[in-house]
């Protein structure tokens, strides 16, 4: 087993990994930027080392520094979490050279699946269905224009090196292509350090369905069924659930087989996710492999009972997969809502600042994966994810209602969050009916900010505000008279006219 694990990440995922290590009795080493000294992951780990200034390139993306810290402090493995260096082939190759176990796929497989263009090529050869689009990287605007004409508008710009919606844009017509490519390249460069982008046919009203896969170092591969992640804003997931309402047993078996074939074709090991788009005629297209633990992994853990982070650590330490495909079952239904520091009334603009107070939801079937606490700061430098609420119940309807309850008991004060918005998504009749396509938010939630004008509990909020103000005024008055007597009260007894 591994001796000490360095967690090259921050926020809720660093906390999640640290907890898994603790349960496995493996010492943990956190790294942090100067903006994160008081972050939760630093408090939770056994050891913590500062690795640089707040900008990611100087800290959480600083490969040399992280490797040096790992060696100095005797960490024999690194867990990269998601984002940052999780899908960076150079980093995983460097770990291999330095004799440090990278808890993730081997660098060759990572490079293949991480390069979305190369993986499309490989998967086409293996007869995996893919979305029509560019098969090679391009840099000249002219070549993008030609490719877009050939594919046919609308087209989608995607970052070759990454996911998470960064660099991704829908281009409805030729006039918007140039601007979109430029912005996509800048975002890709800043998020992944690689500016390459490519174009793909944009499939309208699809569902996003992905399969969780585990593969050991000996060629054993199992899948842990699907997750549907169609509710997205800015092409980034915000609600996920499993099982998918759109997938029946027949389709599930078929897609699961394709997912494991993808993993075998790429000689991929450790945990990974094979993403598909599912169109309304039940055709599915391979999108990409997410070569990391994903934000939404908890829903799979709740329905299958498998701890994916522990599996990652076991596989990385060289253990054989003990799971067999026929032994993995889906039990009940799980939903995840991502709590971001964003303003849903203002186009999901990020909202940094201090969390003045927080109270987390709890109860049967409620899980809360969290990177914040009352009094913590949300820095401007990083992805604004704060936490995730995950509910499990026997049926989808029960899980949905449980989520509404959990969100109504979740308090985060001082910054804007997605809590109220997500609660409205959960309560929406179209969500309840399972009509979840990737344009759900545009289609069903676009008037949400306006509808809030006549919002619930306005009277109660105003009453609470008045009571608080009144109490404060009274306390202040009594404090003045009792504790800080003014000069006229302290001069003693007045005497008039006589000396």
């Amino acid at each position: 087993m591994l001796k000490k694990i360095l967690i090259a990440n921050r926020g809720e995922i660093a906390v999640r990994v640290i907890n898994a290590c603790k349960e496995m009795s493996i010492p943990t080493l956190a790294v942090y930027s100067t903006a994160d000294r008081k972050s939760l992951h630093v408090q939770m780990a056994d050891e913590a080392i500062c690795i640089g200034d707040p900008p990611p390139l100087e800290s959480y993306l600083n490969i040399d520094k992280i490797i040096t810290v790992a060696k100095e402090r005797g960490a024999d493995a690194i867990h990269p979490g998601y984002g940052f260096l999780a899908e960076n082939g150079d980093f995983s190759a460097r770990c291999e050279q330095e004799g440090i176990v990278f808890i993730g796929p081997n660098s060759k497989a990572l490079r293949l699946v991480g390069d979305k263009v190369a993986s499309r090529e490989t998967m086409t050869k293996a007869k995996i269905p893919i979305i029509p689009g560019m098969m090679t990287k391009r840099v000249e605007m002219k070549e993008f224009k030609e490719a877009a004409e050939k594919i046919g508008y609308p087209v989608m710009i995607k970052a070759s090196a990454g996911g998470g919606g960064k660099g991704m844009r829908v281009i409805p017509s030729p006039q918007e292509l140039e601007k979109g490519i430029e912005a996509g390249m800048r975002e890709a460069k800043s998020a992944f350090g690689d500016e390459s982008v490519y174009l793909e046919k944009y499939i309208e009203e699809p569902r996003h369905v992905e399969f969780q896969v585990l593969a050991d170092n000996f060629g054993n591969v199992v899948h842990l069924y699907e997750r549907e992640c169609s509710i997205q804003r800015r092409h980034q997931k915000i609600v996920e659930e499993t099982p998918s309402c759109a997938v029946d047993d027949e389709l599930r078996t078929k897609m699961g087989k394709v997912a494991t074939t993808v993993i075998k074709t790429a000689s991929y090991n450790n945990a990974g996710t094979v993403e598909f788009l599912l169109d309304k005629d039940r055709n599915f297209y391979f999108l990409e492999v997410n070569a990391r633990i994903q934000v939404e992994h908890p829903i799979t853990e709740l329905v299958t009972g498998v701890d994916l982070v522990k599996q990652q650590i076991r596989i990385a330490s060289g253990e054989k997969l003990s799971l067999k495909q026929e032994g993995i079952e889906q039990r009940g239904h799980a939903i995840e809502c991502r709590i971001y520091a964003e303003d849903p009334e203002n186009n999901f603009f990020p909202s940094a600042g201090k969390i003045l107070f927080m109270k987390e939801p709890s109860g049967p079937g409620i899980r809360h994966d969290c990177g914040i606490y009352s009094g913590s700061e949300v820095p401007v430098y990083y992805d604004p994810i704060l936490s995730k609420v995950i509910t499990w119940a026997e049926t989808r309807e029960d899980a949905r209602k449980r989520m509404i309850l959990a969100l109504s008991n979740y308090v985060v004060l001082g910054i804007k969050t997605t809590i109220g918005f997500l609660s409205s998504v959960m309560a929406h009749p179209e969500f309840a009916a399972g009509n979840t396509q990737t344009n759900f938010i545009e289609k069903n939630m676009s008037d949400w900010a306006n509808r809030k004008k006549g919002r619930r509990f306005l009277d109660e909020a105003l009453i609470a505000s008045a009571v608080a103000s009144q109490t404060k005024a009274v306390t202040r008055r009594s404090a003045v008279s009792e504790k800080a007597p003014g000069p006229w009260l302290t001069v003693g007894k007045w005497s008039i006219g006589e000396v």
Binding site: K166, A183, R186, E187, S190, A191, R234, A341, D343, N346, N347, F349, P350, S351, A352, K354, L356, F357, K359, S374, V380, Y381, Y382, D383, P384, L407, S408, N409, Y410, V411, V412, L413, G414, K416, T417, I419, G420, S423, R455, R456, F457, L458, D459, E460, A461, L462, I463, A464, S465, A466, V467, A468, S469, Q470, T471, A473, V474
Partner: protein
């Protein structure tokens, strides 16, 4: 006591009478009998005409952040005109529309030049904050009067990046 609160520029007046540990609160012709018990520094238990609400509350820089059953509010005490105004506020008062980022970020691209005529909805500047690019658009037809920053500059929230002059409505 009387209170005037504002939520997102809308004001609300409340009349509060405190008697025998209970509150009688009037707003908009409605009356509420309120029993309030502090549970902790950030929590009140309200019984409003017998209906129970657990309300969470925190204050920072004159703003009250309140959460009632998952609904969040940011409430400010409406106060008389104060002397000190921020740059953005004074610009807005003078009738000069400005373009500012809602939070600290980096100016990645300026899409217009001084003197340019812009249409409503036209992109003016791209600001990157928390790893996402956000294009800030013009709210109306206007002429770009002044650009206060250049590409690569860091900007604070609510500081005008671009000043506009509105076009006459025709």
């Amino acid at each position: 006591m009387e209170f005037e609160f504002s939520i997102e520029e809308q004001t609300y007046k409340l009349q509060v009478d405190h008697k025998d540990g209970k509150y009688l609160i009037k707003r908009d012709g409605k009356e509420f009998n309120v029993d309030s018990q502090p549970i902790s520094e950030n929590c009140l238990s309200l019984l409003v005409d017998g209906k129970a609400y657990t309300v969470f509350i925190a204050e920072n820089q004159g703003k009250k952040y309140i959460s009632v059953q998952g609904e969040q509010f940011c409430i400010e005490e409406a106060k008389a005109d104060s002397g000190a105004r921020s740059l953005a506020e004074s610009a807005a008062l003078k009738g000069v529309p400005t373009i500012a980022s809602p939070m600290p970020g980096k100016v990645v691209k300026i899409l217009v030049a001084e003197g340019d005529r812009v249409k409503k909805g036209q992109g003016l500047v791209i600001v990157e904050a928390m790893k996402m690019e956000n294009e800030i658009k013009s709210g109306s037809g206007a002429v770009v009067k002044k650009i206060n920053f250049k590409e690569g500059d860091l900007v604070d929230a609510a500081v005008p990046i671009i000043e506009l002059e509105l076009e006459e409505e025709k």
